[in-house]
Symmetry: C2
Subunit: 368 residues, 2 copies
Amino acid sequence: MSEVFADRRGRLRDRCAASGSAAALVSRPANVRYLAGGAPPGAVLLLGAGDDALLCPRTPTGDPVEGRLDERLRLVVLPGAGTDPAVAAVDLARGQGADVLAVEEHHLSVARHRAMGSAAPQVRLADLGTAVEQERIVKDEDEITCLRIAAEITDQALGELLESILVGRTERHLALELERRLVDHGADGPAFATSVATGPNAGRGGHRPSDRRVEEGDFLSVCLGANYRGYRCEIGRTFVIGTSPADWQIELYDLVFAAQRAARESLSPGRAYGDVDRAARQILEGAGYGECVAPVLGHGVGLEIEEDPQLAPGAMGKLDACVPVTVEPGVHLPGRGGVRIDDTLVVRQEADGGPELLTITTKELLAL
Amino acid sequence: MSEVFADRRGRLRDRCAASGSAAALVSRPANVRYLAGGAPPGAVLLLGAGDDALLCPRTPTGDPVEGRLDERLRLVVLPGAGTDPAVAAVDLARGQGADVLAVEEHHLSVARHRAMGSAAPQVRLADLGTAVEQERIVKDEDEITCLRIAAEITDQALGELLESILVGRTERHLALELERRLVDHGADGPAFATSVATGPNAGRGGHRPSDRRVEEGDFLSVCLGANYRGYRCEIGRTFVIGTSPADWQIELYDLVFAAQRAARESLSPGRAYGDVDRAARQILEGAGYGECVAPVLGHGVGLEIEEDPQLAPGAMGKLDACVPVTVEPGVHLPGRGGVRIDDTLVVRQEADGGPELLTITTKELLAL
């Protein structure tokens, strides 16, 4: 695996060199992890003329941290708890003779940026922009394997929950139980805060679990995902509690299902991000629910649960093969509840079988 | 309660006015929450010549968010998912006639800061610094009540764990069980990632739970805390597994206990931060463990689990009454394990009974 990280760093160095910076400082945590293979909190990565270096703080109340390193990457643990690794890095870059250092201006605070400038005024700070985020969009097969395992764990956790008694339990407890089951099945943790929404809360994106208890006749929507070796997937399903759903519940479910299927089927290399969104959105708008639809209908996943691309009306760009995305339309009717259906898929060429569905829990409307 | 938040905002406005800025933009999430009483992710707070305004993004995949507001605070939900609330805020400030806007340069990224400058070049951006963080150090009695409840919940969760069978269970499962119990007892969630460390891991600050199982003869150290209405406390205890601890375990425990007690007893208004650290550190150094001690022996707690002040050798400043802090010395012997004892206390005047211990679980060396 260590070759992978060295290769990624090599590509970034080439990209920097082409734009006039011999050295680059990566500070955004997921970007550091992507390029170093693992990094303790607060670590920054210096790619320079010399050896690449991972600069780590001592944790304020802990032992010196240890990073996983490959042979081309040097670990530098800073002596004091108060030393900013970014400031130490610009100093190291200056020592290596760098005159321009590209930094992540979308991540570094104004105060840190200024402290770096003061520490080494000889070094001009340029902007690396989102170069690393752009590299991260297309995944290699090892990354997709991690996502596939994350999805398997997620399906298992959700499947077990569906076999248990739900009526009378609170949203909060159901969310905790799902998170425990994720870890039981091998997740490093939840990929994001698990959402369980019942009754009038159902179908609300990002609903925070409350003390409301599951009741007969409720819609129940859940959204969860496992973090496996840093890779995060997402699944969302909506169920009905009780013997038979009401007519309005069946109609709303069928509508959202149709919208979600249309967006899934539109996933292919070369397809514009906005087209995927439109495939789902026009079905929901056509049924008169335009006002109840979220502004973004899907997004990339990987080392972060929300990555590029965004599948939204204004989004610029086109899908590539090997890009994992969520497709998650939903409709929430204030006071009544709603439906959200969410899958993680990998964009694949038609010749490779088309979009690969990672989250395989059924999307039939189950009455639990 | 709404008066409280309006008063806090009034103090900050006065402070800004005194330093030449009629308007201020608060973007750091815990600071926004402190001043607004609650805020959705990504919200920023504009304190200006006109009404104060809480500017909230629409969540990328959700419904428009709702903030808890008091009557003097206006809620502005931005129309698009892509609008940066900080950019919208500088535009609003300009519209209200502000010519200087103080911003949190330690929080705002270089890219956001530049976007604000471009959106309203007529408005000069000044630095608010850590003005809000400084205001947050001394807590009012309502805040301390939240911390006290958080500590009660934490003690309950830990107490229940001690009554269960531990041998053979993994660090990871014990940590999850503790987090479930925190929520069972009314926590909004864990205050931070629960740490459970066994055998050679015991006593390491910030140890991430692994699949190692508890064995007879182990040291077992746990560190956990509840989040109650946003307020976060912390407790750390070390136990021995089995019938009787080894001599080296008793000696190490007694030493860390003595160091922790010395630091606790040194907590009083007017005492220098560094003195508290030194009270514990000199005992550990005197026993020859100087190299094994963490660089910071305690810190403030509140809306964040690590707040000012830092109790560390170089820290400048003195304690005030009503400042809640942790006192958490530990010694970790590589390969053997170690001891960490951690309490949350509130600094109080001698006449008020001296430091108030919030986390009351026994600090006897229990053999479990």
